[in-house]
Subunit: 141 residues, 2 copies
DNA sequence: TTAATTGATACTATATTAATATCAATTAAA
DNA sequence: TTTAATTGATATTAATATAGTATCAATTAA
């Protein structure tokens, strides 16, 4: 069971690169080469993130992508939702015959509780936090 | 992001059917039709569960599958591991260039902590618990 | 004017998940 | 003893999701 797919993984790495140089434009090319991400793949991810207002861009020479917002407002949960769809355990485990009434189903609530746990754990992990962790790790010998 | 795939979902339903009639043999056919599971697909899942000693079987006429063990000893975590592989967030998010030393990487530990949370939450959900929840839900009008 | 860039989108490849099919071995029952 | 109902083992196909590549138009700083 793979929790983060490549696109989420790549997106996180790209955002970290942008957050580290916050306020400056970085080209897709430089982000790709420096972080081992396939160039065209990365471009699609960046464009998707623009659509979701996580980053901004400037076309043309000297253009690129830039992080404007506070990296602490971008969580892994958001990225999972963008690239892997909303966290959901199972559409509906027992439908018609066995369960009958979704509304009151204890089991369903149980399952949804876990969804919440997963989601809130990933919400705590923001790009800002990751960046600080990374800086901290770099210091140690 | 889909946490439970069809095979895990189907496996859970089949185990609930078997747990509800614990000690008796149920045929794959009856489990399939009563729970809306594709017959041949289910058979493969049942055989896989036999290999993992979750259930037993008897060949021939009047044969079938049976649950011998305590349903409380079968957790959703086990089923996820069997049918979707071990819970893992991402192989390694930042490899060589950025991180360099997996062993001490703060970030990696952060991520692994979440894996633990996910896993332990699903460990609490056993077939026994689900069965009781289901029975409880059935009582209410 | 041009080269470096992003925007948009189409395409291919690979892997995973889901489903079906086949035939041999077993066994209770007719 | 024959037969029908079953599981065991395994091969095959179909559908979907993930990953990666390619192309060309639009923009813009130099
Ligand atoms: S799990 Fe879907 S209605 Fe109970
Ligand atoms: S995340 Fe892999 S070494 Fe840090």
């Amino acid at each position: 069971m793979k929790v983060l797919t490549k696109n989420t993984d790549y997106a996180i790495r790209a955002l970290l690169a942008l957050a580290a140089k916050k306020g400056r434009y970085l080209s897709a090319k430089s982000i790709a080469t420096e972080n081992d991400i396939p160039y065209q793949f990365l471009r699609r991810l960046l464009q998707e993130m623009i659509r979701h207002d996580l980053i901004v861009s400037k076309e043309g020479v000297q253009g690129g992508f830039m992080m404007e917002k506070d990296p602490d407002t971008i969580s892994v949960t958001q990225l999972i939702e963008i690239f892997q769809g909303k966290v959901q355990v199972s559409e509906c485990m027992f439908r018609k015959q066995i369960c009958g009434n979704r509304a009151r189903c204890v089991l369903r609530h149980e399952i949804m509780r876990i969804e919440q746990v997963v989601q809130s754990e990933f919400e705590k992990v923001t790009i800002g936090k990751l960046l600080r962790d990374l800086a901290g790790a770099a210091l140690k010998p």
